[in-house]
């Protein structure tokens, strides 16, 4: 059996490519409530994340960095669902996303909560790339801990 690159389509979903080509929410915040640099020591990929808070909620989030399509697109996709959430809600999203990567069965409602980030489901079939997808989410977790320590 000879296969070409067709299987890659599962990894490189159109939504992901779109976010890689045109990352959202990259503008740096003037006065971030919290700021984190995350590096994947295995590959050197970098994510710079800033959070702006409005009371209890994440009002603004900025993500920029350097690295592969998966790590960078995940960062961009993440901003779209985290904005407006409380730290605990954002942490719950992170758990859902981790579940998605680890191959857990999520309910339809849970998948809905992740919105376009569900497009990263295909990463599961490429286990070494899972860490690329988790980089931004672990940056988020660190950034959240700075504004509201986990209970």
């Amino acid at each position: 059996m000879q296969s070409g690159l067709g299987d890659l389509d599962e990894l490189y979903q159109e939504v992901l490519l779109d976010h890689y080509r045109n990352p959202r929410n990259t503008d740096r915040l003037e006065e971030p409530a919290s700021e984190v640099d995350a590096v994947n020591p295995f590959c050197g990929d970098e994510i710079h994340m800033q959070l702006g808070m409005d009371g209890e909620r994440v009002a603004k989030i900025s993500v920029s960095g350097q690295g592969c399509s998966i790590s960078q697109a995940t960062g961009s996709l993440l901003t779209e669902i985290v904005e407006g959430k409380t730290p605990d809600e954002a942490r719950a999203l992170r758990e859902l996303f981790r579940g998605l990567m680890m191959g857990e069965d999520l309910t339809d409602d849970q998948l809905d909560e992740l919105e376009d980030s569900v497009a990263l489901q295909g990463v599961r079939r490429f286990p070494v790339r899972i860490k690329c997808a988790l980089l931004s989410w672990s940056a988020l977790s660190d950034a959240l801990d700075k504004v509201a320590p986990a209970g």
């Binding site: 070409g4 690159l5 890659l8 080509r21 590959c43 050197g44 990929d45 970098e46 399509s69 998966i70």
Partner: protein, 417 residues
């Protein structure tokens, strides 16, 4: 075997069971040899033989198995000694890998001989294993670390080296061959320079010993470090060569069985070389298998190994010229360049390239190659690397190039070019 005749690559390939493995529906194309090499049946079999026939501790028993194990273990040391033309078996110390060998020098010789205000000289081409121990030593001692830069053509700036090596220099630590650029450095010239000022020369031979004839006496280096796993041998074993007169006065760093001569409850005296630096039960099986790996390479002849790799590198460099969007790191010509080709793509990240090639059964390395400062100095954070060995063919270079073209087409359709 006629020296000078090209390697019989098809015959060599038959010795490597893994090369017939299927990966994602394709026969494996293994181009990650700078990370670790594959192992021939002869090496695998020597491990099996040891465990099936004479597994036993060394230097301890008077029984037959122990005598056989000790003989085989010391025999392997002798093979390594002859392989790099070291003056005596005592100058070969078994370690876990190159990293441990380098750390051994940093924690023993350098700990005793480098002080505040002294200088350590290394290069911009080093693996993290040959940078971080020196940074840490410099912090501990208040010494200064100087880094010889890379020229625009991917060579070591020997003029800067001459400037940096001064009366204050205690040690020069340099790689013989860069694991990223493939550059072969003139470590003999560095050794001469540091000897003129009374310092010592440490060579990281992790990439040179597996691929070219290496003669530590001709290079006149004081230390050389390398790993068996990159030269057909098993993982978990490496070598530190040291000039006997230096090892003789170097303090030990790990204490325990085998490294002592006499122990009382109050004190201990140290065993002879090389055992002084080999505390505890050593990695017997892997040392013996390293001997088998060295036999295999010696039988081929290292001049022929080098010639084969020069040929394949020249072929690959030529083929790479026609690729779109690819920038090579390091020398573009094969002179003084080993079989390592690192490259970056203008718009496709090396991981995405690596994943695509893996779909085609092609194994390359991607990332920072444990040389973050070097890769970053090229304005990128990650590169792809193909590295070749005795079993690789020009046909495999073609497979790589076709794969890169296919990936280019895929990512171009995906709109990320």
């Amino acid at each position: 075997m006629a020296s000078g005749a090209p390697l019989d690559v098809q015959r060599i390939r038959a010795d490597f069971p893994i090369l017939s493995r299927q990966v994602n529906g394709h026969t494996l194309t293994y181009l990650d040899n700078a990370a670790t090499s594959q192992k021939p049946t002869q090496v695998i079999q020597s491990l099996v033989d040891y465990y099936e026939r004479y597994n036993s501790n060394v230097h301890r028993g008077v029984h037959t198995l122990s005598i056989e194990a000790t003989e085989a273990y010391e025999d392997a040391r002798g093979k390594v000694q002859r392989f790099i033309n070291a003056p005596s078996p005592e100058s070969i110390i078994w370690t876990r890998n190159t990293s441990e060998s380098l750390n051994l020098v940093a924690y023993t010789w350098a700990e005793a001989n480098v002080g505040a205000g002294d200088e350590i000289v290394t290069t911009a081409m080093e693996h993290h294993s040959d940078i971080v121990p020196w940074q840490q030593l410099a912090y501990r001692k208040g010494a200064t670390l100087k880094i010889i830069r890379e020229t625009e053509t991917g060579r070591l700036d020997m003029e800067q080296a001459a400037e940096f090596i001064t009366e204050r220099t205690k040690i020069v630590a340099a790689t013989h061959m860069s694991n990223v650029l493939g550059t072969v450095n003139d470590v003999k010239a560095l050794a001469d320079a540091v000897h003129r000022v009374g310092g010592v020369m440490l060579v990281d031979g992790a990439q040179s010993v597996p691929h070219m004839p290496v003669d530590v006496q001709a290079l006149d280096c004081d230390f050389m470090a390398f790993s068996a796993h990159k030269m057909l041998g098993p993982t978990g074993i490496g070598v530190l060569y040291g000039k006997p007169e230096i090892l003789e006065v170097m303090p030990p760093w790990m204490f325990g069985g085998d490294m002592i001569l006499e122990v009382t409850f109050e004190d201990a005296s140290w065993n002879d070389l090389p055992y002084r630096f080999e505390a505890g039960t050593p990695n017997i099986a892997d040392a013996i298998a390293t001997g088998a790996a060295v036999d295999y390479l010696a039988e081929l002849g290292m001049d022929r190994v080098w010639a084969h790799e020069q040929q394949i590198t020249a072929y690959a460099l030529d083929k790479f010229k026609d690729l779109n969007g690819i920038t090579l790191l390091g020398p573009r010509e094969v002179e003084d360049k080993g079989a390592v080709i690192s490259f970056s793509h203008d718009s496709v990240h090396s991981h995405d390239l690596g994943t695509a090639l893996d779909q085609l059964g092609i194994a390359i390395r991607t990332g920072h190659h444990c040389a973050m400062p070097l890769v970053r100095s090229h304005g990128i954070i990650s590169a792809a690397r193909a590295s070749f060995y005795i079993y690789n063919t020009e046909a495999e270079v073609d497979i790589l190039v076709d794969g890169l073209n296919e990936a280019e087409e895929y990512f171009s359709k995906a709109g990320i070019l």
